[in-house]
Amino acid sequence: MKMTIAAAAGVALLATGALAQEQDLSGNVKARQGQFRIMAINLGILGDMAQGKTEYDAEAAQAAADTLVAVSTINQPPLWPEGSSEMDMDGTRAKAEIWDNMDDFASKWAGFGEAASAMQQVAATGQEAIGPAMGGLGGACKACHDTYRAPQ
């Protein structure tokens, strides 16, 4: 009987431990998804101008590009703790391969930074410069998603 109680207590302890951990990491996941939302909104401002869906506005384009560069400077490791892959929890499409290839993952993030900087240089120079720079940004997104993002 004593053994059973001890075992049950042990299981309960483990369970709360796991639960507590999951709650902790959901904040990290929200934070990293938030930065991707900021990216998407600003890519939208630029992409709509590139496609001619909205009128070109040099100031707004520059602000969007500056924001992309700012996002690229956010320190990433704290947003990607071990145990926060799609295999570990719901609500994320981050593949476990990220944690097997952290160096490569970091270089893919750096690739986004380079593409964002390229956009920052040209965003205010005219509507026709935005399309090619969007191509670079799309390439950077794909390069990472190809390997590290699971399908919906």
Partner: protein
């Protein structure tokens, strides 16, 4: 009684014989290939549109033109592994004839006369124009050779029996285009790209219990064969993007709300981005022309 038994036995033999004949490989008629001469420069666009590199480049390679094979494709029937299709004469397809290539790509028949598994989308490529096939062959001969040996598929019995694919082919091969009478040249091109070369239906259409494409629910989405997640439907009732949005997605990987493609679709977009804008617009027009629920058959 003895006569009856003999009759049953005879019928059994006849049935087995008929089955053996029916499930035998059915090669491309030679006259279809006679006199064709391939243009490697034109073949590059066919190669890109057909997405050959997406599945046949090595799993960890950034170089999509070294077709060493080795990527794994999990399915309900086991795990398939893409073979080496580089021009290496021993481990790739460098020793093949054009006829052998044509039979593999459009009929799913190996040079040894065996059935290939339909993880290789030859039921889509069956609609490939013979000239495109010749151009593709000419182009692929110009790619770098690689000596990586093929890895075996990992299939449980009975799927390990290649002859069984003959039964599958009776049910699901040789069905032609899905969308009847496209009408305009633009839609005809879009249908050719989406149904034949880019083989969109392979992932975006649901499959029957035997793994054949359910053409009565064409491009209406399907469970992801990896067992996790779903592959979205592309019919207008499910994908309400404008034709321009679809074309831009195929060019840039950005959805209308600037999310970005993931997984295998990234490879598809890399291919479409390298094609002319008219081709992306044609595929978009094709998708917009699909009926709701994909009911075409």
């Amino acid at each position: 009684m003895r006569r009856l038994l003999a009759g049953v036995a005879l019928a059994g033999v006849a049935l087995a014989g008929a089955g053996w004949v029916l499930t035998a490989p059915d090669p491309v008629p030679e006259e279809l290939l006679a006199g064709l001469s391939g243009d490697a420069a034109r073949g590059e666009a066919v190669f890109t549109a057909a997405g050959c590199a997406s599945c046949h480049h090595a799993p960890d390679s950034e170089d999509r033109l070294v077709l060493a094979g080795g990527q794994s494709f999990p399915s309900d029937f086991g795990t398939f592994r893409a073979p080496n299709i580089s021009p290496d004469p021993d481990h790739g397809i460098g020793g093949w004839s054009f006829a052998q290539f044509a039979n593999a790509v459009t009929r799913g028949i190996s040079p040894e006369g065996q059935h290939l598994y339909p993880a290789f989308p030859y039921t889509a490529y069956a609609q490939m124009a013979p000239q495109d096939l010749a151009d593709l062959w000419a182009y692929m001969a110009t790619l770098p050779a690689d000596a990586t040996p093929n890895q075996p598929h990992d299939l449980p019995f009975p799927f390990s029996l290649r002859r069984g694919v003959g039964v599958w082919k009776l049910l699901y091969a040789d069905r032609g285009f899905v969308l009847p009478d496209p009408g305009t040249p633009d839609l005809t091109r879009g249908r050719y790209l989406a149904e034949a070369l880019a083989h969109c239906g392979e992932c975006h259409s649901p499959r029957t219990a035997l793994g054949g494409l359910d053409r009565s629910a064409w491009l209406t989405g399907a469970p992801d064969p990896s067992g996790r997640g779903t592959i979205p439907g592309l019919t207008p009732d499910q994908l309400d993007w404008s034709a321009e949005d679809i074309a831009y997605y195929l060019e840039s990987g950005f959805t209308p709300d600037y999310d970005s493609a993931g997984g295998h679709m990234v490879e598809v977009i890399t291919n479409f981005a390298a094609l002319p804008a008219e081709d992306r617009a044609a595929v978009a027009a094709y998708l917009k022309a699909l009926p709701e629920g994909g009911r075409l058959d």
